[in-house]
């Protein structure tokens, strides 16, 4: 009577046990040697099923006969759904007025939303390309391109905001003041801090000059809308609209929107990846049951996929046996391993420190060079290279050190998956910390951090060599963005493409040894996140940077697609989209935090440059906000805002948040307990069932004989 056991799914609960009993006893009477594990055939013999093989879903059918789920969500064939619908319609005649109204509303509501969805899906960007990529390479690689699209829209979202609140008002509604403002409170300060003039490049032909301008953001570009310095405080106070406030709030508002959006995605992916935590280790099961990408339709891709699954399974099986071996390791071996790991970590730390020092030096050299530029008559190429020194050094570091990390991690004797994650983590830290180092050394130059008594810095509140320091920082970020974009294209055209051509068309041993390049999703994703971080950092100083980024991402998408389809081969290692999703979103979040912190700090603490920009007359940029509150808002609103800003409000808020967290934590604990109990319950029920089964067969056997 094994049929009882193999009835699957929801039937295994106790309440259905009784219901099953009758057909079971019938079954036993009819056929003692009932078919092993073939309830369908058994059922057919009993006349319970029609000859229709579509009735394989019989078991589920019974359970979802009328439990209120919409028809389309039931696992039935379309024929059966149509039949059921007819039946429902006949019954529906007796439905009362109010019920029929809600029902029709339920029906019309999804119709409406579906129509809008139809419209939206029609104008989805890159839908066809994404489908193609998914079909050829699977959902893992797709996740990179989806991230690109997300970043594209993230940057695009800023453009209308900025245009609406700042750009349009500034270009159409401002008028230059008729009488230039006469303000001569401090002559020496003015002479020292306001003698800003746009740098002119000597000794270059016009084309060279234009070229240089485009790449360094100086000359024509320096005075353009691209940089902070262009937006001077031509107020349109007559309309009651403060450009300063709009500029600050647009950018801060956009950044907080980014914060919410990215934060939401982090939380969502965290919820997904939670299942990978130690309580729910189902590595093999989920790899087998959810391992196949049904969207892959390319024959080569299928065999590649099979290869990667096979490799992955073999690797993990080895890992399991390795872990068992590890338990038997002697203490001496363990100590030796820990020592190696410690030494290697120290080595990596030293390498990173050296890399940071290089970045620091590069910034120093490039900034010093820039300040002396007026007097010197350097050659064109030398000037360009020195200007681009920091981005070049940062890229070189980010390019080579991960390889070194990857080589070193092999000696640390971690399992393969840990190895990959560790290398990635180190690369991420290197990348973000490198950027942080660059920012720090820039800040040190501009604000003389650590050396505030410097004579250059005392007078203006910032280094007087940087008359318009916001624009200078904007230019640095602009250079970084341009360089990253150019290096993406350059590497594709000058390294990847020749490599591919060499492998395909020559018979050199070396070329074949190198082989085709692999398309590494994690590295590509990290690059994209890194670029986005630079945009976030630079957008206050160079508000059109996001627009530039939109263009760059658009081109990058096609370049990467070409690289993937025609130059690279997909990586042999399977890249699982969901398990790493959290990691990448977290890195994106980290990048955002890293951009926000220095920005907030400078906005709140440092003197904006006196020579240019909207905030030239304020002690700090943030001062605009309290001033606007005190002059424009009614007294009550001021009181309210002051209260919200005070400790008296912060303390209860903090307490409340703590309470909420405590509630959640205790709920989680309770839930895990309940889950354990439920699991026990299931096992108990199976015992019960098999016991009952035995008893039943004991009772029935003598009567049958």
């Amino acid at each position: 009577m094994p049929c009882l056991l193999c009835l699957s799914g929801k039937e295994r609960t106790t309440e259905q046990l009784g219901a099953i009993r009758t057909p079971i006893s019938d079954l036993i009477k009819m056929n003692h040697k009932s078919e092993k594990r073939q309830p369908w055939i058994g059922a057919q013999r009993l006349g319970l099923a029609t000859h229709n093989p579509g009735s394989k879903a019989r078991q589920a059918r019974a359970s979802c006969e009328d439990d209120g789920t919409p028809l389309k969500e039931r696992p039935l064939s379309l024929q059966e759904k149509l039949a059921q619908r007819k039946k429902q319609r006949l019954e529906g005649r007796q439905v009362s007025g109010s019920e029929s109204w809600t029902r029709s509303r339920q029906l019309s509501h999804p119709k409406l939303s579906q129509e809008t969805l139809n419209l939206l899906s029609a104008c989805q960007l890159w839908k066809k390309s994404l489908h193609e990529i998914e079909g050829c390479f699977g959902s893992g690689i797709l996740s990179y391109f989806i991230l690109l699209r997300f970043l594209f829209f993230l940057s695009l979202g800023f453009v209308p905001l900025f245009a609406g609140f700042v750009f349009v008002p500034i270009s159409f509604f401002t008028r230059t003041p008729d009488v230039p403002a006469v303000k001569t409170p401090n002559q020496t300060l003015d002479v020292n801090c306001k003698n800003f003039s746009y740098q002119t490049q000597g000794g270059a032909t016009p084309t060279e000059k234009l070229f240089l301008d485009i790449f360094t953001g100086e000359g024509i570009l320096e005075t353009s809308f691209l940089f902070y310095g262009h937006y001077t405080s031509m107020d349109i106070m007559s309309l009651g609209y403060s450009i300063c406030l709009a500029y600050l709030l647009t950018i801060l508002g956009y950044l907080s929107l980014c914060f919410l959006w990215v934060g939401r995605r982090v939380v969502q992916s965290r919820i997904q990846s939670q299942w990978h935590s130690k309580y729910y280790v189902m590595a093999f099961s989920s790899r087998i049951f959810a391992g196949w990408d049904f969207c892959v339709f390319d024959l080569d891709a299928v065999s590649l996929k099979q290869h990667s699954i096979s490799n992955c399974l073999k690797m993990e099986l080895q890992e399991v046996s390795r872990q068992q071996q590890k338990l038997q390791q002697s203490r001496r071996e363990k100590a030796l391993l820990s020592l190696t790991r410690l030494l290697l970590n120290l080595l990596i730390l030293a390498l990173t420190a050296a890399a940071f020092y290089c970045i620091y030096l590069a910034t120093e050299v490039s900034q010093d060079f820039e300040q002396q530029q007026g007097s010197s008559t350097e050659t064109f190429s030398r000037r360009l290279v020195t200007q681009y020194f920091p981005p070049i050094i940062i890229s070189v570091v980010n390019f080579f050190l991960p390889y070194v990390f990857g080589a070193l991690v092999r000696y640390e004797a971690y399992s393969p998956s840990v190895e990959i994650n560790l290398t990635l983590l180190r690369s991420v830290l290197l990348k973000l910390a490198g950027l942080g180092m660059f920012l720090f050394s820039l800040g040190q130059k501009v604000f003389c951090i650590g050396n505030r008594e410097d004579s250059d810095c005392l007078m203006c509140g910032y280094n007087k060599l940087y008359q318009c320091w916001e624009t200078s920082i904007g230019q640095e970020m602009y250079k970084m963005t341009v360089f990253n974009f150019l290096s993406t294209i350059g590497v594709t055209l000058l390294v990847s493409l020749p490599r591919r051509l060499m492998v395909d068309h020559t018979s050199w041993k070396l070329a074949h040894w190198i082989g085709k390049e692999e398309f590494l999703v994690p590295q590509n994703i990290l690059d994209a996140v890194y670029e986005q971080t630079i945009i976030w950092i630079g957008m206050f100083y160079s508000p059109l940077l996001p627009l530039l980024n939109v263009v760059f991402i658009f081109i990058t998408f096609y370049v990467k697609k070409y690289t993937l389809c025609h130059i690279c081969k997909p990586s042999k290692r399977m890249f699982r989209a969901s398990s790493s999703k959290f990691f990448f979103h977290f890195v994106l979040f980290l990048g955002l935090m890293m951009a926000l912190y220095p920005l907030m700090y400078t906005i709140a603490n440092f003197r904006p440059s006196r020579a240019c920009g909207l905030f030239a007359d304020y002690a700090t940029v943030w001062q605009v906000v309290p001033e606007a509150i005190s002059t424009r808002l009614p007294a009550n609103a001021q009181l309210l805002l002051n209260y919200i800003g005070s400790e008296a409000f912060a303390f209860p808020l903090l307490t409340l948040l703590c309470l909420v967290i405590i509630v959640y934590i205790s709920q989680i604990r309770k839930n895990t307990e309940t889950i354990e109990q439920l699991k026990d319950l299931i096992v108990m029920q199976v015992w019960d069932k098999s016991y009952l089964e035995e008893e039943l067969s004991k009772v029935l056997k003598p009567s049958g004989e």
């Binding site: 579906q114 099961s285 049951f289 196949w292 990408d293 049904f294 891709a301 399974l313 199976v686």
Partner: protein, 190 residues
């Protein structure tokens, strides 16, 4: 859509929309693709004709899929068990594999696709066949017997909650609910 599209009446279209997870465009596209599989003289009777399995499997979306036979079998409602597909079966399949289908429906059909002997539970033989489909039967990729045994043992250890040696639908759905990749990968779009 032209002549082919006009045959699908408005009522039927909205009915299909309501009973499947497909949008209007997707249904019309499916109609067109299904019609293209038919010989010329039968194109006028798209709604009543069945397409034999061999023809269905020429679709690029199914051609390379290692589970193609199982998919045909599960979604076919043919009386002769020849796995031929009517237009409604075809829609059914696309609906389950569409983006908007619920995880419950998807996992239910996945279970039926993986249940090779159709006994309502995944036993060791089903699992073995499943793994072989995933890794391919080629020399280099196929798992050795000991690896296979170890793998199946591990799978059962992880997901056979009631310890009866097989994985039933609810256990399967339990695993699936913890595999966030599933919804995005159990997908076929025309």
């Amino acid at each position: 859509m032209g002549a082919a599209g006009s045959q699908l009446s408005k009522e039927l279209l909205s009915e299909y929309q309501e009973l499947t997870f497909l949008t209007k465009q997707e249904i019309l596209l499916a109609y067109k693709k299904f019609g293209e599989l038919l010989p010329k003289e039968e194109r006028s009777r798209v709604l009543s004709v069945r397409i034999p399995k061999a023809k269905i499997l020429t679709l690029p979306e199914l051609k390379a899929n290692p589970f193609q036979h199982r998919i045909c079998h599960v979604f076919s409602t043919s009386e002769y068990q020849d796995d031929s597909m009517s237009f409604e079966d075809f829609l059914d399949m696309l609906s389950v594999f569409s983006d908007s289908a619920t995880p419950e429906v998807k996992s239910h059909y996945a279970f039926r696709i993986f249940d090779f002997d159709e006994d309502g539970a995944l036993d060791t033989h089903d699992l073995e066949k499943l793994v072989n489909c995933l890794t391919g039967e080629a020399e280099g990729t196929k798992l050795s017997e000991s690896e296979m045994n170890q793998l199946i043992q591990n799978i059962l250890e992880e997901s056979d909650i009631d310890k009866d040696g097989t994985i039933n639908l609810s256990e399967f759905q339990h695993v699936i609910s913890r595999s966030p990749d599933f919804v995005s990968s159990f997908k076929i779009v025309l």
